[in-house]
Amino acid sequence: MAGSREIRNKIKSVKNTQKITRAMEMVAASKMRKAQDRMKKARPYGEKIRNVAAHMSRANTEYRHPFLVERDTVKRVGIIIVTSDKGLCGGLNTNVLRKAVTQMKKWQSEGEQIEVCCIGNKGLGFMSRIGAKVISQVIALGDTPDMTRLIGAVKVILDGYTKDQFDRVYVFYNRFINTMKQEPVMEQLLPLTDERMHSDESSNNKPKTTWDYIYEPEAQPVIDDVMVRYVEALIYQAVTENMASEQSARMVAMKAASDNAGSVIDELTLIYNKSRQAAITKELSEIVGGAAAV
C-alpha cells in the first residue's frame, strides 16, 4: 500500500528526534541547577567588593581612580557582549544581539566608534560576520566560567579605557529572572555609576562618618587593584547569570521541541491509521465486488 511505509519511517525519525530533545532537556535541567548555584555563590564577593569600592570612592579624595571619572565627550565606546557558546537555546542569543545591534547603530549614527569584546562563541561568530571590530575574545568557557580565562579579554577593554581608547564601556548579557524568563540587558560598566556603587545604601548601609583606610603599601596601587577586581567581579557575575539563563532557556526550548515532536507523532499516527483502514476497506470492497461479479 502506497504511503504507509513512508509514514512509518517518518514516525520513527520524529521519535528519534524526540529522544534527543528530551535528553537535552534533562541535561539542561541538571546543568541549570548548577549554574544557578554558581550564580548565587558569586554574589557575596560582588557585594563585598562593591562595599569596599563604594567606601573608597567616598573616603579617598586625593586620588580618584579613572574608572570613577565621568568623561565629557564620548567618542569611542567599548562593549562586552556575553553570549552562549552553543545554540539550541531559543531566542536567548538573538535577543541580546538584537539589543546590542540596535544600540550600536544608534551610537554609530551619533558618530561614535565601537569596539567589541566577545565572551561566547555565538556572539563572536555574529560580530565578526557583520564586520564589527572585535578586539578581544574568549570562547569555549564550558559549564564552569573560569575567572582566569575572563581576565585576559576583560583586561584588553579595561586597559583601553585607562589609556583613553574608550570613553565608555557597556556590557550586554541576559539577566536571569526565573527559569521561564530571561531578559537581555545593557549595563554601563565604565565609568562606574554612582547608583551602581551605592545602590544598597539608601536602605540599610547608610554611609557612616567618612573615615579612610590605611593603605599598605600605598593608596594608588591598592585602589587600582580593588577597582580592577570590582569590574572583573561585575563581568564574572554577568557571565554566570548568562550561563544560568542559557541553561534554562535551553531547557524550555527543548521541552517545547519534545512536545512538538509528540504532537507531530500523534498526527502522523492518525494519518497512518486512516490510510491503513482506507486500504483495508478498499481491499474488502474489491473482494465483495469480485464475488458479486462471479
Binding site: K48, V101, M104, F126, S128, I130, T148, A153, E216, V226
Partner: protein, 140 residues
C-alpha cells in the same frame, strides 16, 4: 563585641569562610599581619599563602588563599580572595593572548560594519522563532 570580630573570606566563585573570630594572621604584601578586634581600618594586598584563623573555642584553622585584598574595619574583616595566582605579567600575557585571537579572526575579512545585514539576519531569526511559537499555539 570587643573580643571577637566578624570575618568573611570570599572569592568570585564561592564563599570560603564566614563567622566570628578572635584573631587572624594574613600574608600581607608588606609582611604578615596579625589582626585583633578593633584594628584601625586598613586595606592592603595579600600574597598567596596561608591565612591563620582562631575562632572562639576552636582550634586554629588554616586556609590557603592565592592572593587578593584584605579589608579591615574595627569589627568586620573581609578577605577578597583571588581565584588564581595573579601577577601583572601573567595578566598581561592573558590580555595579549585574547587580543591576538581576536586579531587573527579579524584578519580574514576587511569589510565595514554592515548593520543592514546584521539586522536582517536577526529579524529573520526572530521571525522564525515567532512563527514556531504561533504554530505551537495553533497546534494545541
Amino acid at each position: 563585641m570587643g573580643t571577637i570580630f566578624h570575618l568573611d573570606i570570599v572569592s568570585a566563585e564561592e564563599s570560603i569562610y564566614s563567622g566570628p573570630v578572635e584573631f587572624l594572621v594574613a600574608p600581607a604584601q608588606m609582611g604578615e599581619v596579625g589582626i585583633y578586634p578593633r584594628h584601625t581600618p586598613m586595606l592592603t594586598r595579600i600574597k598567596s599563602g596561608m591565612v591563620r584563623i582562631k575562632a572562639q573555642l576552636k582550634e586554629e584553622e588554616l586556609i590557603y588563599v592565592s592572593g587578593g585584598m584584605l579589608e579591615v574595619q574595627p569589627d568586620v574583616v573581609t578577605i577578597l580572595a583571588d581565584t588564581a595566582v595573579r601577577s601583572h605579567d601573567l595578566d598581561e600575557a592573558k590580555a595579549i593572548e585574547a587580543k591576538r585571537a581576536a586579531e587573527e579572526a579579524m584578519q580574514n575579512r576587511e569589510s565595514e560594519l554592515d548593520y543592514a545585514k546584521a539586522q536582517a539576519e536577526l529579524i529573520e531569526a526572530m521571525a522564525q522563532l515567532a512563527a514556531i511559537d504561533k504554530l505551537r499555539k495553533r497546534g494545541h
